[in-house]
Symmetry: C2
Subunit: 286 residues, 2 copies
Amino acid sequence: MSKPAGMTGGFSRFRIDLGYDGTDFQGWAKQPGYRTVQGELLVALEKIFGPTEDDFGMRVGGRTDAGVHALGQVCHIDITPEQQKRLGRTPFGAVRLQSLLPSEIVVYAVAPAKPGFDARFSAIGRSYRYLIADGKSPRSPLSARYELWVHTELDVSEMKKAAKKLTGLRDFGAFCKPRAGATTIRDLKELRVTRFLDNIEVYLVADAFCHNMVRSLVGALIRVGEGKLSAEELSKLQLSAKRESKFKVISAHGLALTSIDYVPDELLGEQAEKTRRRRTTEEISV
Amino acid sequence: MSKPAGMTGGFSRFRIDLGYDGTDFQGWAKQPGYRTVQGELLVALEKIFGPTEDDFGMRVGGRTDAGVHALGQVCHIDITPEQQKRLGRTPFGAVRLQSLLPSEIVVYAVAPAKPGFDARFSAIGRSYRYLIADGKSPRSPLSARYELWVHTELDVSEMKKAAKKLTGLRDFGAFCKPRAGATTIRDLKELRVTRFLDNIEVYLVADAFCHNMVRSLVGALIRVGEGKLSAEELSKLQLSAKRESKFKVISAHGLALTSIDYVPDELLGEQAEKTRRRRTTEEISV
């Protein structure tokens, strides 16, 4: 049971900006019997607003998989007038919500949503960062949870070359876990590989990513960096658009959702309706 | 049972450089029933060299407390000719040792120790770093394990002033957990407070630190930063040299041992004997 985007009739919609260390979560989406980010949020929210039957109509900008971190996640909730009454004297805000959450989840801001805002359907872009430490990088035990360790030195210039060939509006079927009825066409606006400080950073921006796409793309780029696949071969495999079993989906722990980009406020409602019509049957996740 | 510093008679001494995320360890020193860094190392070493009765004569440069991290820890072990024989065909080195350890412990290097080297007694300095995020710092969920979060904005210039008054060869009894027969005189060579990137970093160097000294010093500096204690008052409390219950020993998770400094190779044996004579009955730890 979900409410229409931009609805207001008696409900108050709140936008929640947050981040988390995904290591010890089974991803964003609540699952009975598992520790998930959404699950922890719902427990905290029920302490504030009382029981919910529809998860407060929560929707999220980027559904992250198990082990994936988030620095710039966004979700929204819809609070009924009855739930509002449960608030008590302490206002509902970032400090209150934070106080009910484990320290792995950080609430940056809680604010009434702009009219027409929908955390999922108003989004026009998702950015991710994947950190790799290769044979040239120093190893820090304080980064082990957040970067993939590769033993050989990676050829970053080859990786850059390959990355260039993959950007644009394309069919990324070679990198996606197939889902019946869902398109694998995505607009990969940016795919940047840089040696940044002591690490290699792969930075990706797309309108949305299909399932496993980020980790398959980065896995393929690593193979290029290792010299096991050329930039040209990778480009050809992409063009075939058939699920490529040779691209291993690399470990989640190097990956972080860095931001969700939204349309300007005045176009919020319009964008939400547009995306909703296009994607209702699809999952937007990595 | 420990062997004299610099001994060689049949033993081979190895120097091990390592780091660790201390979050899920009950500190460095092995303790039955607890997960400790030394305990994990000994389990790994026994897989390589077979059983030990004396913990391979292991000594460490900086005994860290529960929850304290290390970026530049150093220890040594003494391997008997019989144990050497157990090595098999794979040489004893960082890669082999690492393969037997959890990823929270990172082995940087394993090498035969220089003649006269003793990880504890050849050390002339220990450096620590304490990270604080205050009201001005952004909160990142990927730093939560490694920095203390303080809600107010700290007055860094007052903290710097106070830090200046505390450096030098002094009696740090006000900051130390007392131990019978042990001196609390230490040479605090550096105590630097800087706003570094988004955090406040307190950097400390001393010949050695007595128990709880780093965390009491940083706790006192935070009180200064909060305006609850003036630099002058703090200096007076230090001069009294009596254990000050008002300095709370702040959380371990913001603290990391950054390096152990050793005398130049040619003075190694001499320094070890000197320190040993002076400190045999004391614990060097934070």
